[in-house]
Amino acid sequence: MSATAVTASGRPARRARRRPSPLVLAAAVVMGLVLCCALLGEVLAPHDPDAQQLLVGLQTPSFAHPLGTDDSGRDMLSRLIVGARAAVVGPALIALGSGLVGTLVGVSAGYLGGWRDAVIMRAVDLLYALPPLLVAIVLIGVLGGGYTVAIAILMLLSAPADTRIMRGATLEQRARPYVDAARTVGVPPRRIMFRHIWPNLLPLLAANAFLTFAYSLVALSALSFLGLGADPGAPDWGRMLSDNLPLLQDNPAAVLAPGIALVLTAMAMNLLGDWAYERLADRGRAR
């Protein structure tokens, strides 16, 4: 029999590359725009976002005001652009703060184990059982509202989730021989936790920060919507949404624009979080 070469399987050789998918690219573009607006809001905005034109009042979209104005005559596009800052800074602070607390507490609990772990994790369970938005509403009601208070409360209530994740990941790393090896060399526990184990948790931590960001953005905006977050009149997407709700009939753009901006930003952050996790985890393997 003559050896006839037969090529198997018509499946194309190319697999999904690590090049970001169009969806991730789109998410990156959205986040890029939002970040630009957050940094350069006043420069980019065509009008002063707080300048009222009480005599003119509400305007529908026009060349001068692409998204129209609200009932005080403030330019909606400018407010949307400047509002990006509140949409970025608050959630970013929450993500960073809760990540920091979660890392410190979670890694310690996971590495030290024993009664410290038990105490910490029961406290975390307790906090975890509370619905964050509801608690935030009650506390802000008692403490008297404000953007800063809202951020602090959400930070505190996001930390338990981060703590759990970090503890779990620490437990997994702790069982590895490299940790045992560091122990036998006599490396002190704190150094093992934060110089040996922590770098291996970075991909997880980074990805989680993105998700916390997305969640906090929605939660903060909800609080603002309810009048418990951003101060009245401040250019904040959630606040704009509630302030302009009565204008839905007259200038739908004034209501829909901040809503769409919120949804797009939150979605973009989620997508980027997933992508960042894959990338970082791969790099962890490849470096």
Binding site: A8, R15, D180, A181, T184, V185, G186, H196, P199
Partner: protein, 630 residues
Amino acid sequence: MTGAAANGRAAEPLLRVRDLRIVAGTASGERTIASAVDLDLVRGETLGIVGESGSGKSMTARAIVGLLPSGVRASGEIRYGGRDVLGLRGRELQRLRGAEIGLLFQDPFTMLNPLMRCGEHIVELLRGADGARLGRRERRAEAVRRLAEVGIDDPAVADAYPFQLSGGMRQRVGIAAALARDPQVLIADEPSTALDVTTQKAILARLKALQAERGMALILITHDLRVAFSMCDRVEVLYAGRVLERGAAEQLERRPRHPYTLGLLLSEPPGDRRVAQLPAIGGSVPAPDDVADRCPFAPRCEWVQAECTAGPPPLVPLGDGASSACVRVHELADEIARRRALAVAPRPEQPVAPPAAAPLVAVRALSKVFGDDGEARRVPALDGVSLHVDAGESVGLVGESGSGKTTLGRCLLGLERPSGGAIEIDGVDASDYAALSARDRGRLRRTIQMVFQDPYSTLNPARTIGATLAEPVLARDARVRDVRTAVGELLERVGLPAAYAARKPIALSGGERQRVAIARALAVEPRMIVCDEAVSALDVSVQAQILNLLEEIRRDAGIACLFITHDLAVVRQVTERVYVLCKGELVEEGPTGAVLDQPSHPYTRALVASTPRTDRAWLDAPAAVPAAEA
């Protein structure tokens, strides 16, 4: 299919593979896994495919049954019973697998579905003579019959879930399931690698018996030459995705024709005698694409010449059924034969060093129970074990999984706290590290160090080699000013270039990582190193390098060693005294040679009898004691 009468070698082979090439598509282009692989399998014979990790042996097996992972493609010719397997699709391929070619995987712990009863794994696809599904009662009867065939006489096993069984039992169920539809060919991919030696022997013997009963052909894929030679009629040696040598098993063992085969044979530690030094092959297995245009073994071959790198050498038949892919096969024949004969000659045992005045490590009546006092599940791991290691001495601690050998090592290092008994290291009571003063603890850390088993997780993936080594250097003496130089010297001492300090572990091969792990243990200049299965995850050729390195370090620095291992051949090569541990209890101790040559305890006898040898007799010899699960 050809007639059933065709049973001889001259007949059309049952399975015929020609010019098989396997490639994986990756982000950076195509990566070759195997190329130009040929093999023939006739009815009833056993073919061994031998290779180290990365040789492409598992993928070759998967290609034969069309089970390649996505992104991996095969081309060439695979004919089974006159059909072209690579052209088969969907249902045809399904019919081929299981019914005609059975496949048995390595890992008995993941091979069975945890939610399916063992019996169901076996009878899942069985049909009656009329093609109808079997009734409930018939299915069970069939499952029990099949289990009996693989040596499980307890019918209750058919109703057990996999997690309720030991590894050996699971592997037996796996065999029964692979054979359920009476295939003509069984492909066994490292079927006994994950098992203890006594279980391994029982499983291999059972496979051999089943094969004879059924007249079935067997392809045995293994990294263990001893297993291959004792089980197989013919052997193909795979290296970096290419066949380097093929021939009858006996002939290959006695008279290798390729430098790589010779190297493999020599670097395998012999189980029955001690050699002065294992002849290791330097370097590690290359990626197939890096050596595509030359003899793949050329970078590691001591006889390499210009012609070796001129092009990939073809596999040349040598007339007596053997083939070799060495271009210098005829020139080297005499030299290879000489080396082989030299290695077979026995060397004298190393004399046991006279006992030192005070032992460096003394363990007295050590016990360890896992689980707290109140808990229902209390697992005893060690029960009244006493041993001692003197300064500069090399001691073996042998046992199978669950014997408590690793627990003992971890107790010595303070990674576990003993439940009872005493440990004294260099005059310090080390029974409870937590209760020691910082000064004493520091002293213990500088006295005793450990090398762990798994080269892939023993180094922190996020830190460079330099950072990993700098820590113990400073732990020994915080005043060291030039840490870089100290790290460089350490790396050179374990045979690595100093420039490796800048690398992350991912850029290193398994053997190189284990060298770094040894350097880390050496950095504090300890007086004793505990090696917990330090070479068992490595390829044979690399294992010999690491054993030689450890031996050299021990000799030069006078460091005592405790070798924790399941491998008697390794113990024979590197230790002077040995302790045998069985289910947490010490059953035998003495000079290594004496214990292994004339074992007195039945368990030690069973271990010695189960250690693979290249001759067929070890498989047929009855176990000295009935192994727990045989």
